[in-house]
Amino acid sequence: MLALRYVVEDVPRLVASLAGIAFAVALVLVQTGIYAGFVRSTTLLVDNSDADIWVASRAMSYLEITLPVPYAWVGRIAAIDGVQHAEPLVLRSAIWQSPDGTLDYIRVIGFEPAGSSLRLGVSPDALAAMRRGDVATDAAQLSSLHAGGIGARGTIRGMPARVALLTRASQPIVSPTFLYTTLDSAVAWTPISLNEIMDGQHGPGTPINYVLVRLHSPQSASAVRAAIERALPEARAFPRAEMAAITRTFWVERTKIGFLLLLGASLGVFVGGIVVAQILYASVNEHLREYGTLKALGIGDRSLYAAIALQAVTIAVLGYVPGLAIGVAIAFAAAAGRGTPIEITVPGALLAFAVALLTCVAAAFFAVQRAVRVDPALAFGA
């Protein structure tokens, strides 16, 4: 009863402490949201495919760094028992030039749109309608390409390219702009062999980067994986989840982004904690004689700890709500304005709540020392 009265008796002080906690909560939410969004975005291409197995060179580091493999692997893999469908995927780099001359570094992802295992957040029919020179890209990347929307044009290696489809959730945060196109377009824009330069289209000699495999039954994944690696000793076959995990791990370890975001979130928590601790300490100081009176009356230290901890928990709960709202608003604004995925997840929200609670309780522990050390004989002073 007393603890809650102390919390609400001074509204400006309450607002200041709530602002401190809301700030810390929002920062934790946004930082964990950026982390979650970043990590998820690194594997969007893999996650958004129907391929049960991704086949690559044994030398593959992660999705975007691998060695080419022969196109002939597609046919050999398609012939393995249990394989329903095998398709090639190339992943190369190029430069997009918009009509105003602006350049953008891009990743060209060549595939066979008709019946492809890639989903890209658009209908299979829309994908199948893609023609040579057409590209699909994430709507959030249009500004990077200096493109207005569907129908916008540019050139790649001097050849025309046209934005034909806008995809959703298909662009990793840290990668160059992903342009999805037909295999022939990719080969024409980024030839890496004499045949490709001469022919301008893919053929049996075209180096590819991945073979995407759909199975008759996902339960046969381990058996088919083993069969592929037996048939092609230079190949590694990764179930989709493993392929995603390898890519995710690469980015997390390479960028140290988790550490950097943790550092930012820690600063927010530290500042929020200091604000709450200072306010609780000031509150205890202001009521020091009353705490002395309570001790004189026989109220034990445990009750004082409980009362101040309850004040802290109340501040944490009350501060968490606006903090959550601010975090969600920032996530929406970032997604709408910049296409930056900040994912406020349930675990992230629970983590932020736990952080708010711990911060407030730690701040209370600091403040309560002043209260429990007060001399009860103080009450007999005038």
Binding site: M1, L2, R5, L297, G298, I299, F380
Partner: protein, 224 residues
């Protein structure tokens, strides 16, 4: 009078860091029987408030012993002394020391709840006691909304509502005008007698003398 509920024997006390002033208590002894009302009278600095603090277990004496309701305080740790105060001792303070964020009724209930009474019982007891002190109608007011005399009555209700064995009152009238002071003293002593509680009052206010059973002079840290 019954057996002593307060017994201080050869009490000595010196405030930490206070070298020049010497001992505040110098072998003070006092016994107060159950239901007895005693006035400790002395000039400012005579040691009467310190004696009150030592007898109530708020300060630990450098020498001598204190027994409260037959329990030797020297054998109790800080927590045990606090629990004993919570159930057996009431306090009335010079500046009332009501909790500003709580209503008059809640100030009384707080101690009763801490002592183990249910919320309902505490509320009933608090209202009964406030009514007996003539302030039941203002039970829902905050201390800042009460006059000094009314605040002191709430303080007296807080001290007596739990039916303590002894009440220690430090200068209970000095913050009140003469009429309020007399009224507060009469209410404190009257209700204490009704409940059979002993009362030890430290004051230099002569007007209290008619209400008490015994006057003990305190001078130079000793009881006369």
């Amino acid at each position: 009078m019954g057996a002593p509920v307060v017994a201080g024997e050869a009490l000595c006390y010196r405030y930490p860091g206070s070298i020049a002033a010497g001992d505040v208590l110098r072998g003070a002894s006092l016994e107060v029987a159950g239901g007895e009302i005693v006035l400790l009278r002395g000039h400012s600095g005579s040691g009467k408030t310190t004696l009150l603090s030592v007898l109530a277990g708020l300060l630990s004496p450098a020498g001598g012993s204190v027994r409260l309701t037959g329990i030797d305080l020297g054998g109790l740790d800080r927590g045990a002394r606090a629990r004993l105060r919570l159930v057996a001792v009431g306090f009335v303070f010079q500046r009332f020391h009501l909790i500003s964020a709580l209503r008059a009724r809640e100030n009384v209930e707080l101690v009763l709840r801490a002592g183990g009474l249910s919320a309902r019982d505490a509320r009933v007891r608090a209202m009964e006691t406030l009514a007996a002190l003539g302030i039941g109608a203002k039970a829902e007011r905050y201390p800042r909304e009460l006059s000094g005399g009314e605040q002191q009555r709430v303080g007296i209700a807080r001290a007596l509502a739990k039916r303590p064995a002894v009440v220690f009152a430090d200068e209970p009238t000095s913050s009140l005008d003469s009429s309020s002071g007399a009224e507060a003293t009469a209410l404190l002593c009257g209700l204490a007698r009704t409940h059979g509680a002993a009362v030890v009052i430290a004051s230099h206010d002569e007007r209290i003398v008619p209400f008490v059973d015994r006057v003990v002079a305190v001078a130079d840290g000793r009881c006369g």
